[in-house]
Symmetry: C2
Subunit: 664 residues, 2 copies
């Protein structure tokens, strides 16, 4: 609490600014904001000195997250390799490929589709083993603990930075722009916005968010309709090659449409969230930011994940059964998953959306759009410059002119949002796509330097903002971490074939091996029970087909209750649900244990803080003591020099002068 | 930071002590430590002044907990009344009672037991509806949220008390007795206990805890064996009335044995936990207490709840089925639940253990044992006094003699432990016993005054201890709260008949009503399949019994797989597990929402703290300003009086004297 310090800082501020630009900026560029420096640790303290605490914390967080992605990438690659290695020895996919004529499957569409042999889907069956093996169960437990560990370590790092950057006890309160005119008024006139004033804003808020979410769902539904109708149209095409590639064509185009819709809606939702938050008139800058983030996150989260959730948990579950299919809009059958299982499709969906989003949104948009804007501005400026050329004689533009030509800084929210949505891809569906951390890592290594470059050389230098933590982002991260546990539990138990395999092996298999699993998962259907007009027009099968097979656990045609769900169905369902309970509670328990075992404040920091507290008390006492001495020396001199004159009157007028300086 | 204050406090401390005893003690007794004052709020500030912060926090916590029990008691009573009112209209129990000869049940034991009519169990069937109705589902959700709310409110109250009692920023570090000789040595010689020194202690610890837990389980197992064998012995008794009351006799005696075992082991475990913690040589008093509490809690928790868990989740689940019963020790059949369902038995077990523990341990032990000790000590003292009577002439004993005759204070741990275990009864199994909060409330109203009386007039006045929170107890409470969610989910779904009823009503019932539910839950058994030698010796049934019924979902004898689990079994199991997932995640989500919505720091306190911070800065500046004036006045006088002499040398020797006092 040395007050001269403050004065000195005030005097030195402008000087400091000059130094920091001249000296730090090239240093930052050299050490940090180049792709060539990707292997180096970030100079966090330097970043904080140049950009302020808020941006410093962002890069520290991004650095820690990227670092944490390394072990998870390694484990992810190992899990993937395990899938590759064991693919050959996987009995179910072997049976699927080898027993060529064993399983005659029911047609995939009405009339125009023929019966087909399961062995033709051999390739997808094999591929799905890559992601659908016991190692992924281990990996999703690992990733749940990884997320907890990451958050704990971040808490510690934040604490450490907060200590070294002198942020403990710092609290910010600043009126927001939206509130400024209203709130200052309130302060003066002791008036408050009542709930009557705020109610319309809130109502519009809720209504708009619901509308936006409905919009997202409609988009997903629309793409589904596109997939169903296109598949139906293509499958009656006369072109042989078109017909054989229906699934690939439809899946690929649909995912791309999904991706485009996500990218477009993302931009719209960002603007809508801002508009809605302004309507709420939050009091301080901080609450404004928090509410904006919450809304934008909610909308963008739903937008990014809705198609993935659809594939993971809904696709292929409302198909009905042969002879009693579920139809949409008269005549279009609901879509099924590929024979390899829905997990394979989930994996494709996930990887394309994740990679596409990263490549297009994060890199192309972040590099391309600023570049275009700059170009546009330059062209405009050149045109105006030509006109002014006669009046303006200085040919070399000043530094401030150059700086002004840069793009303005628009806040950290988009940077965080991008990373948080990525964190979701890494944790939420990791059970179906163990390579997600690898792609995230590759992206982030570029991202760190890209952001750095942008901040150092492509944006106007942002105002420094003090901030002691990453605020609401932490809560969002921890929320995603918790949510991921239940999502992974459901992906493993419901989407993948892990549980049916286990049940078969331990309850139904004759000899404890997986032989006969494929046969066990396929139910029988008597072709004569097909509704009139839905039989295949032309069949290439030589013998007449009597029974066709389909993937479901239902009673065979010869049972007393044909096509009802069989006992197997219910026992597998029980096992699936039991697994969810077990998995969720085990992982939650382990996470709580990790959380409890890692202290929030690093030990050296907490000891340092304690030491400083006692030092402060010592210093205070010492200073008071010195003052006492000083005053005593005055009094002594007074007494020595004019002994006739008493100082008593001064001391009695200022009794606190003694009171303050008596150390116990 | 006024230092005179400190001095004054030092001087006044002994005076304060005198005042506090003379003045506070009778006041506390009058206002607080009487049963007559049960309706009054506790004078928390007075308690804190007399006993210190630690005990003050305990009573504040106990007060809040008791207050929170009021709404939950009211809701509990309403739920219970709902059960009473709807009992008449409950179709399943009506069917059970009315259709007298409809269900011939299989014998409950081999040879000596006869077939029986389900209608004879009519009374228990009706009674079980009291606790097994949809309202209990609502109630257990309510109680989970209640627990979260209670913990949140406690955080706020603790914050408020901490603020008013000046505990913010207070940190305690005191060496524990166990560590004292070792740790001080370490401090001096910079030596540390290495893991080699500590390893044996930890090993003994883990081994002992495992042994103790095994002991508890053995006790539960022993009681089970007692129940099985006694039931078997009694049921072949020749006395008619003995035979008809087998179940009541066995259940009652077994619960009492359970209770006695719990009470005895509780005392042993308390001592063991202390011994084990001393072996660990924890460094500070705080860690010592924390570890002791954790161990004692673990042991006592397992001890108190093991028999209840057994009844809730294991009893009656490994019985086998007629014709293939599971036998223990050759010839003793595993025990089944009463016809009313296990929930009824769980309720009886719970109420007797809870009430018995409260009455005996909390009240009898807490009043009786100190009284006996006092009596014993008095007798001993009187005997010695008689001998010393000749030498000692003062007949009226001094106050300190009287005080010394009181029992010493042994810490708050037993008081907290008692309440925490009770909190467990109130939250963990609330789905099966909605009256638990009522009994807890009644107990606590007495408990507050009992503890108060004990502290004021029966114990030596404890040393005051500063403490800013209730420490590890909070974590334990929050852990119990979280654990209770999953336990209640399982009690509702697995122990109660709630899910089977729902499944019957919506999936199997012909007309959507509950008619026929009893018939649906009973499987058929062909009497001729009974193993030789296990048929009833004498049957009082007039017609020959061909099929008897038993409570399970199994295939009938005429199916292709007789006595295998039926499809109903698996579908009900799926529904049960799905309910667990739904319940757990819903309640966790709601709790998180409540947690998030209630801020941890009350708004008035956080504003007060902010205000004080700025006041402190103002005060600091003002004081420095006044000092500056004072020094200036000295200098001025100096200049006026002897102008020839310069003060410059003093100021140049103490440049900080100016530096400190220049306000910006």
């Amino acid at each position: 609490p040395n007050l001269t310090h403050l004065t000195l800082m005030g005097v030195g501020a402008s000087l400091y600014f000059k130094i920091s630009v001249d000296f730090f900026a090239p240093l930052l560029y050299q050490e940090w904001a180049r792709y060539g420096a990707f292997y180096k640790y970030q100079p966090i303290d330097l970043i904080r000195k140049y950009f302020g605490e808020k941006i410093g914390l962002y890069f520290a967080w991004l650095g820690l997250y990227t670092e944490f992605l390394i072990p998870s990438s390694v484990v992810g690659i190992i899990v993937f390799l395990y899938g590759c290695i064991t693919m050959e020895s996987d009995i179910p996919s072997k049976e699927m490929c080898d027993q060529e004529k064993a399983f005659t499957m029911c047609p995939l569409c009405d009339k125009s589709c023929d019966y087909w042999n399961l062995s033709t889907a051999c390739a997808t069956g094999r591929a799905s083993h890559l992601f659908d093996n016991p190692a992924t169960v281990f990996f999703s437990i690992f990733m749940a603990l990884w997320a907890t560990m990451f958050l704990e370590q971040w808490k510690r790092l934040q604490m450490r930075l907060g200590y070294f950057w002198d942020l403990t006890g710092f609290e910010e309160e600043e009126f927001s722009n939206a509130c400024l005119d209203l709130c200052v008024l309130q302060q003066d006139e002791k008036e408050k916005l009542t709930w009557r004033d705020r109610m319309p804003g809130y109502l519009v808020n809720v209504a708009s968010i619901l509308f936006m979410i409905t919009l997202t769902f409609s988009a997903v539904f629309g793409v589904t309709v596109y997939r169903i109708t296109t598949a139906a149209v293509l499958s009656i095409s006369k072109n042989e090659s078109t017909r054989s590639n229906v699934r690939v064509t439809v899946t690929a185009t649909a995912v791309i449409i999904n991706l485009v819709v996500i990218l477009i809606l993302d931009e719209i939702y960002g603007a809508v969230a801002k508009w809605l938050t302004e309507m709420e008139v939050p009091k301080t800058e901080k609450t404004f930011e928090e509410r904006l983030i919450l809304k934008a996150f909610l909308l963008k989260f739903v937008n990014s994940y809705a198609p993935i959730f659809y594939v993971a948990f809904f696709k292929g579950r409302f198909v009905g059964r042969p002879g009693s299919y579920v139809y949409m809009f008269d005549g279009y059958r609901m879509e099924e998953c590929a024979p390899g299982g829905c997990l394979m499709e989930l994996c494709i969906q996930l990887s394309i959306i994740m990679l596409g989003k990263q490549l297009i949104q994060n890199n192309l948009f972040e590099i391309g759009i600023p570049y275009l804007k700059k170009l546009f501005r330059k062209l405009k400026d050149e045109r105006t410059e030509k006109k002014e050329n006669d009046s303006n004689h200085s040919k070399h533009p000043q530094q401030w002119d150059l700086d002004y030509m840069l793009e303005p800084f628009t806040g950290l929210t988009p940077e965080y949002m991008e990373m948080i949505i990525q964190f979701g891809f890494v944790t939420l569906f990791v059970a179906s796509f163990p390579l997600a951390p690898v792609f995230a890592l590759l992206n982030n290594i570029i991202e760190v330097r890209l952001d750095a470059k942008k901040f150092v050389s492509e944006l106007r230098r942002p105002d420094t903002v003090r901030e002691k933590d990453i605020g609401i982002w932490y809560n969002i991260l921890s929320g995603i971490g918790k949510f991921s546990v239940i999502i992974n539990a459901f992906v493993i138990s419901v989407t993948s074939d892990f549980i049916p395999r286990l049940v078969y092996q331990y309850a139904y298999s004759q000899n404890g091996t997986m032989h006969g699993f494929i046969n066990h998962t396929l139910s029988y259907f008597n072709v004569s029970h097909l509704k009139a007009g839905t039989q295949p027009d032309i069949s290439q099968f030589e013998q007449e087909v009597i029974f066709c097979r389909y993937k479901d656990y239902r009673e065979p045609p010869w049972s007393p209750n044909p096509y009802e769900f069989s006992k197997q169905y219910w026992s597998v369902l029980s096992a699936r649900l039991a697994f969810v309970i077990l998995f969720q509670n085990l992982v939650m328990f382990l996470s709580a244990l990790v959380d409890w075992m890692i202290p929030d404040i690093p030990k050296d920091i907490s000891e340092q803080i304690k030491k400083e507290k006692s030092m402060l008390v010592d210093f205070f006492l010492k200073e008071e003591h010195e003052k006492l001495k000083l005053i005593e020396s005055f009094i002594m001199r007074d007494k020595h020099r004019n002994k006739g004159c008493s100082n008593q009157h001064i001391l009695s007028a200022h009794p606190e002068a003694l009171g303050i300086i008596v150390p116990s």
